[in-house]
């Protein structure tokens, strides 16, 4: 449980609109955040999907393309980072997405075996 005290790390998971990725990335870079992991996801929420028609058949597509950004960082940076993400990702229109924050117990940099804050 020593490690537990040694380092307080959080993961921020942000679901954003795809075309906002560049801006969010830059906002995080500006805070000195040097690493993140990004993936393509599909989101379902209040934002309405669209209808596709193939010959006779209509399909309602509820799942919309979104980008998920994952950043692990020291507790101390979480507030700044979430604020920056929210600001950069906002369009004010429905479907802008969410930011989730949760605890990370440990982080290791594979290349160097460094752990904790030094690893991120």
């Amino acid at each position: 449980m020593i490690g537990w005290l040694r380092t307080e790390m959080k993961k921020i998971e942000a679901i954003i609109k795809p075309f906002k990725l560049e801006e969010v990335k830059e906002a995080l870079s500006d805070l000195g955040i040097e690493g993140m992991t990004v993936s393509e996801v599909k989101g379902f929420g209040r934002q309405k999907g669209h209808t596709e028609i193939y010959r006779g058949s209509e399909y309602t597509v509820d799942f919309l393309p979104k980008i998920k950004i994952e950043v692990v960082l020291p507790d101390s940076m979480v507030d700044n980072a979430t604020t920056a993400i929210v600001k950069a990702a906002k369009t004010g229109k429905i479907g802008d997405g969410k930011v989730f924050v949760y605890n990370i117990d440990e982080a290791i940099r594979i290349r160097t075996d460094e752990t904790g804050e030094k690893a991120i």
């Binding site: 028609i53 193939y54 010959r55 006779g56 058949s57 399909y59």
Partner: protein, 485 residues
């Protein structure tokens, strides 16, 4: 290393081996029996100068020049027919394969390609062994089957066969017609996509060729054929079908309906969306089909002559019109013109103009183009949902419906102005003849398909297990994945 393979496979293979051994024996015999004499194309010319000039003129006009230029193909016509044959192969490989392949789900695209490829191989062997002879032979002097004289393409050389062409090598003609025999069963794949066992499908096609295609093609195009209105004076029904509205599209389309009814719908049909996995592939396929179809339609003149030129023109006009009309229908009725709509319209236009292209004028072609979009459009968007059969990729909606209205419209719009071969005795009762031909075709296709399909349902089984179908046919039936990232 020999995988334990199941009963069906063994059945199929026994069948093939049986046929092969029979065929090879016969082929060798055939070859010995009737060595066609090597032609001597450099021999001195007999005949008067007048005759020789007339024969040369016959080449230009695509008439009989055999008086002094027998046994020699005409370069322009032969060139066009080799091109046309290659174009019709292009329609199937990769044209149709992509058109259909794009419309299925990702997990089944290879199964469609495998079916197309398998059919190409199977039909070629059948055609070589017996098909060409059964369709274009005349030894039986029979309105439904041709003859046995050309089994194993025996006697089919580079010399023209005057029954079908004055100036095109008979072997080129045989290969050209082979490409029709290939694409016709391949069209059926569309209706039963994503849910039929490969082995059963191939077995189905084996029988279907003998029971439906060969007799049908002989009836319409064979020189002793039952419905060969123009060239067989003794034909029972004086119908016309320039490039295969009945032979190709009606047979495949109506067979499709029956087979997909007997097969049943795909798992999840109507419960979950089954959208095309790549409209891009479908569009590529459409472009290839269109381009290749010039070989199909204009090639059906079996010469690079006036009739071919007419067919080329009519095909272009009808197809573009139908593509545009389908798109506009979507735009008006649903607010958006889709790529799939344009593509479907183009294919529908090609289908409907097929029997007519050598017989109608430009204006007739445009009229056909409009109807080629409107009728299948409503068949697919209104009829199909109501009746509820799972014609997966709309083979019935496009080919059966399109082929049928094409045959009938040919009856209404064929004109001597477009094709002087249309004699008055044919024209006078043409619509009735076309109607009769439609009925004959429909019955043969429906009954033939039903018999084969039921027989296979209760012997080999038509469908894979639900697990296989859910995992996708690509992995389960062919051991491959289409795309790996």
């Amino acid at each position: 290393m020999v995988a334990s393979f199941n009963l069906d496979t063994r059945r199929l293979i026994s069948l093939i081996l049986f046929c092969c051994s029979f065929f090879v024996a016969a082929a060798v015999f055939g070859q010995n029996a009737s060595p066609s004499p090597a032609p001597s194309p450099q021999s001195a010319q007999a005949g008067s100068l007048e005759d020789r000039v007339a024969s040369l003129e016959a080449y230009i006009k695509n008439t009989d020049g055999s008086k002094t230029l027998a046994d020699v193909p005409g370069p322009g016509h032969n060139a066009w027919m080799m091109t046309a044959a290659a174009l019709v192969l292009f329609m199937t490989l990769p044209g149709l394969a992509l058109f259909y392949g794009g419309l299925v789900r990702r997990k089944n695209v290879l199964s469609v390609l495998a079916q197309c490829l398998g059919i190409v191989g199977l039909v070629t062997l059948l055609w070589w062994a017996a098909g060409y002879s059964l369709v274009f032979g005349k030894g039986f002097n029979n309105p439904f089957f041709g003859g046995a004289e050309h089994f194993f393409l025996n006697g089919v050389t580079s010399s023209p066969n005057g029954d079908y062409s004055y100036w095109v090598s008979e072997n080129v003609y045989a290969m050209y017609q082979l490409m029709f025999a290939i694409i016709t069963p391949a069209l059926i794949i569309g209706a039963i996509a994503e849910r039929m066992k490969f082995t059963t499908l191939m077995t189905f096609m084996f029988f279907w060729m003998f029971i439906v295609y060969f007799p049908m093609a002989h009836m319409v195009w064979g020189i002793t054929g039952f419905m060969n209105g123009i060239w067989n004076p003794a034909s029972g029904i004086k119908a016309i079908d320039f490039a295969g509205g009945t032979v190709v599209h009606m047979t495949s389309g109506w067979s499709s309906l029956i087979l997909c009814l007997i097969l049943g719908p795909r798992l999840g049909f109507k419960r979950e969306p089954i959208p095309p996995h790549s409209v891009v592939l479908t569009m590529i396929g459409t472009g290839m089909l269109w381009v290749g179809w010039y070989g199909f339609n204009a090639g059906s003149a079996v010469a690079a002559d006036r009739i071919a030129a007419n067919a080329f023109t009519a095909t272009t006009l009808a197809t573009a019109t139908a593509a545009f009309a389908w798109g506009m229908l979507e735009k008006i009725l649903r607010g958006k013109a889709s790529v799939l709509g344009f593509c479907t319209g183009a294919v529908a236009g090609l289908v409907v103009i097929t029997p007519a292209c050598g017989f109608v004028t430009s204006t007739g072609a445009v009229i056909i183009g409009v109807l080629a979009a409107v009728v299948p459009y409503f068949a697919i968007s209104l009829l199909k949902p109501k009746l509820g059969y799972d014609d997966a990729l709309d083979t019935f909606g496009v080919h059966a419906v399109g082929g049928t209205i094409g045959a009938l419209l040919t009856g209404l719009l064929a004109s001597k102005q477009a094709n002087p071969n249309l004699r008055d005795d044919v024209l006078s009762s043409l619509f009735a003849s076309q109607l009769a031909a439609v009925v004959v075709t429909l019955i043969l296709s429906v009954v033939g398909t039903a018999i084969i399909a039921f027989a296979l349902k209760f012997s080999m089984g038509l469908r894979p297990t639900a697990e296989v179908e859910t995992a996708g046919l690509d992995i389960s039936e062919h051991g491959e994945e289409a795309y790996i990232s």
